[in-house]
């Protein structure tokens, strides 16, 4: 059964009819072609699909698209402004925080949420905040440094 929803994604309103069971992650990827949000598991463990829902980091595979009706969503595609990289994107580039790039969008969305609530996190606080985001390439070493870079830049 189709359900009508209106969602603001990266500053743009999207209105449409979708199946009630559709996950927000699938809605973003399939209906809006925002494929920067990745799907790495079926158990809401890996964090590759992390987005911001009304400003808070959320795994978009844990909620239905209909639950996001009337909400504001930011995906990785909405991080940069006018072609200028967000400090977290710059941090990941400068500190080699990505290799294959698959976990990167989710990592950056989690990291920006962390920096909002804790602008100057310790290494341990960063590592703790990332416990819901898996990376298989970097050993997390440079991801931690990337987030520290962004924290400094945003201070």
């Amino acid at each position: 059964m189709a359900n009508k929803i209106s969602i603001n994604v990266n500053g743009k309103m999207h209105t449409g009819a979708i199946e009630a069971r559709k996950l927000l992650s699938d809605y973003l990827r399939e209906d809006l072609s925002l494929t920067g949000t990745h799907i790495g598991c079926d158990t809401s463990s890996c964090g590759a699909c992390t987005i911001h829902l009304d400003g808070k980091a959320v795994k978009s595979c844990t909620i239905l698209a209909v639950q996001a009706d009337g909400c504001s969503v930011t995906t990785v595609e909405g991080l940069a402004t006018n072609g200028e990289l967000h400090p977290i994107q710059e941090g990941f580039k400068e500190e080699h925080g990505l290799q294959c790039g698959f976990c990167t969008p989710g990592m950056m969305m989690t990291a920006t949420d962390l920096l909002k609530s804790n602008p100057n996190p310790s290494e341990q606080e960063i590592r703790d905040a990332l416990e819901g985001n898996f990376c298989r390439c970097t050993g997390y070493h440079n991801i931690v440094k990337s987030i520290q870079y962004a924290a400094k830049k945003m201070a």
Binding site: T35, G36, G40, C41, D42, H96, M108, C135
Partner: protein
């Protein structure tokens, strides 16, 4: 002059990944595309009596449902790319691996029915309406038990579950005699447990048949597009190779698991023509756990003998290697030529014998996983050495210094001939361990350990490893059973304006080739790095390639690029000489221009390239254009090495392990981009440490993978690691033009035994003289070890 080589140039490919514009296979949407879901066996060993698809087929939105009966008998299944022979010379057992099973399923996850529908959700829903009647049989999952008489047979047409047996090194009686006369023998029985590669991008494949051109396109998350095309066309589907394009677009990690040609690739390709629509299949994570080729899974007994001075006199190893139910592409090579051949390690051991029995079990296939055989060899050697040091009450670092092969550069001194077939290219082993000890502050640590009073147990573990990379000289691997050459190709196309397109057969899925290779090209041509583009992963754009694995990309693929660059410069010099009215011998090339030696007369690279394509004023007898292809076949493997040290602290009350420090000093030869090499080491360490502390695929007696999801399989997380402390030494490779050895697997190969050794060391210091703790070393296992 090097402007880029040796510098930590920021990655040129990053921007698309940082802005969500990376294009992975599942991101691709084709017109009129249908979606496949594969219904898999829930049983490890069962006979299919009947498959009823009638109800599912009638569902709205279901386009087609295919079973094994829809695949012609002529398509037997996916092939194995490496042949190992039995000790008696017989060819290994190589039963077919069907695309969809008709009669008998052999592991949980074996594909039985493919449902194709207008959406993935519809396909999945329909799969629940399919009724398959199975007769369930007993299963065997352990590689050693599978070899016992009376074990349930995986392939009933075979006499036993043994795929092959194999032996390498000195005669067993010589090794036995040396062990018998040894002053001390350390013996260890252990399991190198099965792990799941877990690339973050699940595998995905899209098959598309274009009627207009009678041509197929396969997009697939592969490390190896050309080999996939070759195997699928020539050995599975019988489609002419020139009628198939295989694209490996952005790929979200591989770690070995995406080297191989998988059934799903052939299924979507084959049925896209029959259905008349593109078909996409994407694994969910549970399917990835069940079907991505796993790694390791060795059951081993090993003995190492020492003389009274602590010199190793002999090594005997017996290993049972699990192949799984079917032979994956390179599976037979892993426990043999990538494992047995590395048992010399860094040591002068004069007598070595390794005996391997590979068996089929009712489990998912096992194949190359980051390191592939070399981590198993390193684990074997390094566990024995640290344990021997504890048993003989000598220092584990001293024991290694005593046994290291003396330094040799491979240029003025010959390579080192091992007892197990290989000839090491160059090596200087003492400095890596010395540097690692310095970084640890070894003496101070031992004091701290001796004086510890906080209710915890401190331990230190060592691992000094060697690996064989730059895979590989084609003739050598051919003699060892490879059914493919392992060269690499590269085309360098200089555009008229002097911009350079490089087409490489290597495939980047995180390694940063678009940067590293561009650094090499820009420096060799003396042009800005922005003028270079690296193109890979598309069989229509890159003429041929052998893909990326075995830390081979720079050593083999990079060398092929250098060969083409040399041809560009050689031809360019002839054109420049003509323009300068000089002899080519009188020219020198520097900073992007040819200059007549001793004068200020010069012509720039861009002027020469333009002349090559607008050949009005042009030397006689020379073809227009500036475009060269090369194939590079290495003369030897490369041999990176290093020293890893782990420091752990064990909570006596709970058995919990805290990894306090991890020090890695690696020698990967020359380094083009230190930042990228460091990143490769970091990631490798996390995977190796993950095996020691967290990971392990667990099959129960019925052959169920009981931890086949991220809720159950412990993936290493950010808070499981300290920041790594790494450094390197540089011993150039003497036989390739860049002097590089490869860095992709070093971290994984060295790190696992260092962590286990550290835990064993801590336990001995606490009075618990245990020889082994099973990996992953959970708190429960460690706690139990302290109760004895």
């Amino acid at each position: 002059m090097t402007k880029y080589i040796g510098k930590s140039v920021k990655r040129l490919e990053d921007k698309r990944f940082l802005t969500g514009q990376g294009k992975y296979t599942d991101d691709i949407k084709l017109v009129n595309m249908a979606y496949a879901y594969i219904l898999r066996s829930p049983y490890a060993n069962a006979t299919i009596n009947n498959i009823d698809i009638s109800e599912a087929k009638a569902q709205p939105g279901v386009a087609a449902i295919y079973t094994g009966a829809d695949i012609p008998e002529s398509i037997a299944g996916v092939p194995c790319g490496w042949q190992v022979n039995f000790k008696n010379g017989d060819i290994m057992k190589e039963p077919p691996h069907p695309l969809l099973v008709r009669k008998k399923v052999r592991h949980v996850g074996d594909g039985v029915v493919m449902i194709v529908a207008d959406s993935r959700a519809i396909a999945k829903d329909a799969s629940e309406l399919i009724d398959i009647d199975y007769d369930i049989h007993d299963a065997v999952t352990d590689p050693k038990k599978a070899a016992e008489p009376g074990a349930p047979l995986v392939h009933e047409e075979l006499p036993s579950n043994v795929c092959f047996d194999w032996e390498l090194g000195n005669p067993k009686d010589e090794v036995a005699a040396a062990l018998a006369s040894a002053a001390h023998v350390t013996e260890l029985d252990f399991t190198n447990q099965r792990v799941v590669p877990n690339a973050m991008e699940p595998r995905s494949a899209i098959g598309h048949y274009d009627t207009a051109y009678d041509r197929y396109t396969l997009h697939t998350s592969t490390q190896n597009p050309h080999l996939t095309r070759l195997l699928m066309c020539a050995f599975v589907l019988g489609i002419p190779e020139h009628k198939v394009r295989v694209v490996g677009p952005d790929v979200g990690g591989g770690f070995g698991s995406k080297i191989f040609h998988y059934t799903e690739e052939a299924l979507v390709t084959y049925f896209s023509k029959i259905l008349g629509r593109p078909i996409k299949w994407t694994a969910d994570r549970s399917e990835a756990f069940l079907t991505d080729a796993h790694g390791r899974d060795h059951v081993t007994n090993a003995k190492m003998g020492f003389d009274a001075n602590g010199k190793i006199v002999a090594l005997q190893a017996y290993t049972y290697a699990n192949m799984g139910a079917y032979l994956s592409t390179f599976a037979p090579a892993v426990p043999t030529y990538l494992h047995g051949t590395l048992l010399q390690g860094l040591y002068t051991t004069p007598k070595i014998n390794v005996d391997v029995t590979a068996t089929f079990t009712h489990t998912n296939a096992v194949d190359a996983y980051r390191g592939a055989g070399r981590p198993e060899a390193t684990y074997l050697l390094e566990r024995l050495l640290d344990l021997a040091a504890l048993e003989m009450k000598v220092d584990p670092a001293e024991l290694r210094f005593k046994n290291f092969i003396p330094a040799f550069d491979g240029v003025t001194q010959p390579g080192y001939q091992t007892q197990v077939a290989l000839q090491y290219d160059s090596g200087n082993y003492e400095p890596v361990l010395k540097r690692a000890l310095e970084m640890v502050g070894y003496e101070a640590f031992r004091q701290e350990q001796a004086n510890q009073t906080n209710g915890k147990l401190l331990g230190i573990g060592f691992s000094t490893y060697i690996e064989a990379c730059g895979i590989a000289p084609s003739a050598v691997v051919g003699a060892l059973g490879a059914r493919a050459g392992l060269f690499e190709s590269a085309q360098v196309t200089v555009q008229p304006t002097g911009k350079v397109s490089v087409y490489t057969g290597s495939h980047s899925h995180g390694q940063g080739h678009e940067t590293t290779f561009a650094q090499v090209v820009a420096d060799k041509l003396g042009i800005p790095i922005e003028d270079v583009e690296i193109i890979h992963g598309d069989s229509d754009r890159v003429a041929f390639g052998m893909g990326t694995y075995g830390s081979r990309s720079l050593a083999v693929g990079g060398s092929a690029i250098v060969k083409s660059l040399e041809k560009v410069l050689e031809k360019g010099a002839k054109i420049a000489a003509h323009l300068l009215e000089a002899s080519a011998d009188d020219l020198e090339y520097n900073d992007g221009k040819w200059t007549v030696k001793g004068t200020d007369k010069s012509v720039a690279f861009g002027d020469v390239s333009l002349t090559a394509y607008v050949p009005h004023n042009y030397p006689e007898g020379i073809e227009p254009g500036l475009d060269f292809s090369s194939f590079y076949d290495p003369t030897n493997f490369t041999y990176p090495f290093g020293a890893h040290i782990a420091i752990v602290e064990i909570d006596k009350e709970t058995g919990a392990i805290k990894l306090k420090r991890f020090i890695a000093v690696d020698d990967v030869g020359n380094v083009i981009n230190p930042m990228i090499v460091d990143g490769q080491i970091h990631g490798g360490l996390a995977q190796g440490i993950g095996q020691a502390l967290h990971e392990g695929a667990m099959y129960d007696e019925d052959g169920q993978l009981i931890n086949g999801s991220y809720m159950d399989y412990c993936m290493p997380r950010a808070d499981d690691f300290p920041s790594f402390e790494i450094d390197r030494t540089v011993t150039p490779c003497p036989h390739n033009p860049l002097g590089v050895k490869g860095a992709g697997e070093a971290g994984t190969i060295g790190s696992t035994p260092a962590v286990v050794n550290a835990v064993i060391d801590a336990l001995w210091k606490g009075g618990h003289e245990v020889k082994d703790i099973k990996m992953p070393m959970t708190p429960e296992r460690v706690w139990n070890a302290m109760q004895d």
